[in-house]
Every structure is written in structure tokens, then in C-alpha cells.
């Protein structure tokens, strides 16, 4: 307790006010600058310009899977075809990819060698493309991501015929 006794030196009272001022200002700064962000992730795509024309033949033992996404007039998804076969939904696309590569997903596996080429209509909403990439590149099983096809490329963009 800060009682003064004659034999002891005076106890120095530290003025806490400036420190508390600064500390509260720091708290206010952090509180106001706080922005809650939802987690984001990437789909990695390696698409060199030259590879579109000349692909290495020994690297391309598995023919590429061509997925065509057609757009309706409002930019929504009109149809999906995989190697020319019409599909009803992205779930079906995922099932087809699963049937194609099976459970062979390790290094040097069929899933690693297979390439998917997306041919999208220019006006298609981009969210559909991401859904299609999601369908071919993996699935979530028991909270873990099981990767399927990682090699993804796009056909060159075609301007809408207007």
C-alpha cells in the first residue's frame, strides 16, 4: 500500500493516464480496421502459349477430355458436353471424370496424365466455369480434398457472334 514511512524513500507514483490513452487508441484502431475475410483458395493452371499449338506427344498418351460449356442468352449455363456427350449437371460431369480416371490418383497416375480442356462460350458466367473446374479437379471426402485432374486448360476465347 502506498503509505509513507519516514525511514523509507518516497514511492514514485507512475502516471498511467498517457499509457492507457495510447492503449485504448490502439484497441480502437485495430477494432475499426478489422475486416472479417472468408478464406480463399486457388486453382493452379499452367498454360504456356506455345503448348497450345505443339504438345509433346509422349506426354499426351491420354487424349484430352474436352468439356464444352454453352451459355444461354442471359449468361447462365445452357448445356454441358464432355467429349461430345451431353451431361445433365456438374455432378454428372464429376461422375464421368471419376469413371474415367477411377481411383488412380497418385503420382504418374491416370488422373495426373489426363488433361481437361474447357471450351466455354464467351458470355457464360464465370461462376459456372469455376463449378466445372471444381467438378473435374477433385472432391471432398471426410473433410479431406481428394484430387483428381490437375491439368486444366482453356481453348482460346471466341468473341460472341454479334
Amino acid at each position: 500500500m502506498p503509505s509513507r514511512q519516514s525511514s523509507l524513500p518516497d514511492k514514485i507514483a507512475i502516471d498511467m493516464t498517457p499509457m492507457i490513452d495510447v492503449v485504448f487508441q490502439l484497441i480502437s484502431f485495430f477494432m475499426f480496421s478489422l475486416k472479417v475475410v472468408s478464406p480463399e483458395g486457388d486453382f493452379d493452371i499452367r498454360m504456356p502459349l506455345a503448348a497450345a499449338a505443339a504438345a509433346a506427344p509422349d506426354d499426351q498418351q491420354v487424349p484430352p477430355v474436352r468439356v464444352k460449356l454453352s451459355a444461354a442468352a442471359d449468361g447462365s449455363l445452357a448445356s454441358i458436353t464432355m467429349n461430345g456427350n451431353p451431361l445433365a449437371s456438374f455432378d454428372e460431369l464429376h461422375q464421368q471424370i471419376m469413371a474415367l480416371v477411377g481411383t488412380d490418383t497418385g503420382p504418374n497416375s491416370l488422373a495426373e496424365k489426363t488433361e481437361v480442356e474447357f471450351d466455354c462460350d464467351y458470355t457464360l458466367k464465370y461462376a459456372n466455369v469455376v463449378q466445372a473446374i471444381t467438378a473435374v479437379s477433385g472432391r471432398v471426402r471426410d473433410g479431406q480434398i481428394v484430387e483428381l485432374i490437375r491439368r486444366i486448360k482453356f481453348t482460346p476465347p471466341k468473341m460472341p457472334a454479334e
Partner: protein, 147 residues
């Protein structure tokens, strides 16, 4: 201040220690949850959702972030640019990389495109980047916690 004098009435000393403890804990909490890498995120972009879009581990080497808005413009370094004009900006990036002894194919172009934007515009961006020698792309999506 909190000194007790013989004649004066006793002043009550408030023990500041618990308050300062809590305050410093609050500061530490806000410091840790603050995301310093969010400079490249823009509220105008509504990213498409994907359940496979788990946050990337580690840093992307030499990232160049291009954000495509719903209206078909690109936000590059905080500036709104038309898609067809990003070539000159990428040329500058390429020169800067060459000056530091790196080729553009070592860089990753992060495409943060709005889910409502046209797929063709994203492909246009990729094509322009390819013309400038960039070949690594990262299509960014928001992690979908539902489903």
C-alpha cells in the same frame, strides 16, 4: 496521485493491473487476427464459390493480382483498367522481372474474377498474359463452407 498524507483523507487506489492485462490481451488478439495480406482483395469482387478452394499454404512466388469486376474491368494495383489495356501494365511487370533477372514464366498471375463476369473476359485476360510470356495462373475462388 495516490499518496497518503497524514492530515488528508485517504485516497482510494485503483489497482490498474487487471485492466491493463485485459487491454493488452485485446491488443494482441486484434494484432493476430488482422490480415495484413488483404491489400489485394477488393470488395467489388464477388468471388465464385468452390468447396475445393482451400487456402493456399505458403507464399506464391512473385504474384501479380488481376481482379476482374462484374462490369468487365480489371482492378490492377488499385486502378480500374479496361481488359484490353492490361497488356501495357503487364509489359511493365515483365520488364521489372527481367531487370531483376527473372523470366515472366516464373511469376504467377492470380485472377480474382467476379463470379458474374463473363468467362470470355477471364480467357481474354489469360490470353493477354500468355502473349506477355506469363504462363502460371491461379484462378481464385472463395471457399464454400456449405454443402
Amino acid at each position: 496521485m495516490g499518496r497518503r498524507r497524514a492530515g488528508a483523507p485517504t485516497t482510494t487506489d485503483i489497482d490498474m493491473t487487471p485492466m491493463i492485462d485485459v487491454t493488452f490481451q485485446l491488443i494482441t488478439f486484434f494484432l493476430f487476427i488482422m490480415n495484413f495480406s488483404e491489400a489485394e482483395q477488393d470488395d467489388r469482387i464477388q468471388l465464385p464459390l468452390s468447396q475445393l478452394a482451400k487456402p493456399v499454404e505458403g507464399l506464391i512466388e512473385k504474384p501479380i493480382t488481376l481482379q476482374l469486376t462484374n462490369s468487365g474491368n480489371v482492378i490492377y494495383a488499385g486502378e480500374l483498367v479496361a481488359v484490353r489495356d492490361i497488356g501495357s501494365y503487364l509489359e511493365r511487370e515483365k520488364m521489372a522481372m527481367r531487370d531483376s533477372g527473372r523470366e515472366p514464366n516464373a511469376a504467377t498471375v492470380i485472377v480474382r474474377a467476379d463470379g458474374r463476369a463473363q468467362a470470355g473476359e477471364v480467357q481474354d485476360i489469360i490470353r493477354i498474359c500468355q502473349d506477355k510470356g506469363f504462363e502460371r495462373f491461379a484462378l481464385r475462388a472463395q471457399y464454400d463452407e456449405g454443402r
